[in-house]
Symmetry: C3
Subunit: 138 residues, 3 copies
C-alpha cells in the first residue's frame, strides 16, 4: 500500500469565500503514484469546509446568500458560542456544506463526474488556515 499526506494552506482575505483546489488535489494524486485508491480531502478547521460542486460564480453567490439565510452571521449575540468570538454561524454553515470529501482514484487520476470540482469553503477567513489531503491505495 502506498500513502501520501499533504497540507494545503489558505488565506482568504474576506470572511467567506470558495477556492477551487481540484488541480492541487490532482497533483497530489500524481505525486503519490497511487493508481487505484481513495483520496480524503478535509478542512482541518471547524469553521471551513471541503465540498464538491460546480465552478460557477452565480452558484457561489447563491450558496453564500442561502447559507446566510439558514445560519445568519448577525446578530452575533444570538449564539451562545459567541463569547469573545463571532464565528458561531461559521460552525453551522460548515455542517451544511460538509467537512470532507472522499474521491476515487482510478487509473492514476481523480475519478470525477464531468462537472465535479473540489472546493475549500471558508466561513471565517482573514487568517491562515489549512486542508488535509490523505491518499491511500496502490
Amino acid at each position: 500500500m502506498k500513502s501520501l499526506r499533504k497540507e494545503l494552506w489558505f488565506h482568504v482575505p474576506s470572511r467567506r469565500g470558495f477556492v477551487n483546489i481540484t488541480s492541487q488535489v490532482e497533483e497530489a494524486v500524481k505525486e503519490s503514484g497511487v493508481t487505484e485508491g481513495l483520496v480524503l480531502v478535509n478542512a482541518m478547521h471547524i469553521t471551513a469546509s471541503v465540498f464538491i460542486n460546480d465552478d460557477e460564480k452565480g452558484l457561489h453567490q447563491d450558496y453564500d446568500a442561502w447559507l446566510e439565510k439558514l445560519a445568519p452571521h448577525e446578530p452575533v449575540s444570538q449564539y451562545r458560542h459567541n463569547v469573545g468570538e463571532d464565528n458561531a454561524d461559521a460552525h453551522m454553515k460548515r455542517q451544511i456544506m460538509g467537512r470532507e470529501v472522499v474521491i476515487a482514484i482510478t487509473g492514476g487520476t481523480l475519478d470525477l463526474g464531468p462537472w465535479e470540482q473540489v472546493f475549500y469553503g471558508e466561513f471565517d477567513g482573514r487568517r491562515k488556515k489549512r486542508a488535509l489531503i490523505k491518499i491511500i491505495g496502490e
Copy 2:
C-alpha cells in the same frame, strides 16, 4: 490490495426522486472479492446525492417537502445560477443530503446498521445520470 470500480445509471422520470441502491452496492462488493475494506458511493452529478437513511415512503415525502422549504425550486429567478438553467435549488438540496457515503466492508458484506439503506437522491432528473462505486480492501 483489491479494487473495483462500477457505475450505476439512473433515469428518474420526475424532477426529484429517491432510488434504493443497497442491493446493487452489495452486489458490487461481492463481485470485488473484498472481505475487509471500504466502499465509496458518490453521485457523479452535482445536482444529485447518495445518502443513507430509512426506506420508508412517508419519510421520503417528508424529505422532499423539507428540502423544498429549505431551498425552494420556485421562483427560479431568485437564484443567480439560473441563467439559462433552472436547477440552482438542486445544487443546494444535494449539499444538505450529501454527495457520498463511505461504508465499511466486513466479512465480505456491507457493514450496515439494521435500518441503514443506501439511496440515490435525484433533485434534477428527467435525464440519464450516474453514481460511482469504488471499492478498496483485501
Copy 3:
C-alpha cells in the same frame, strides 16, 4: 493491509445530546496497529450522526437550537413518517450533521486539526444505539 472493526455503544438519557468520542477512536487506531491509513466512523442508526466540530458547550446549545429551527420536533403530526413514531425530525437533523466522518491516520495517530473533535450526535435517544469504527491501512 491491516483492518479493525469496533462498535461503540451509547445510551443518551435525553432525546438529543452530543458525546465526544475522540479518545475512543484514537484508542481503536492504536489497537489496530495501523500507522498510515483511514478510519471511518459512522452512526449505525438513521436518527443519529457522527460529526467533527468543537467541544464547546455554548456551540452545542447553538447546534441544538438551530437544528430545532430547521427541523422542529413539534408538532409531530407535520411529518408523514410519524405514524406510530415521533422521530421524523431526527432523520432530518442527522442529514444536516452527517452520518459519518473519514479521518486520516498518520504516524499511528488521528490526523486532526487543532480543534477537531469527533462527536456522536444523538437526535432520538433514551435507548441503546451504536456507532461503527472501521480502520484500514498498514
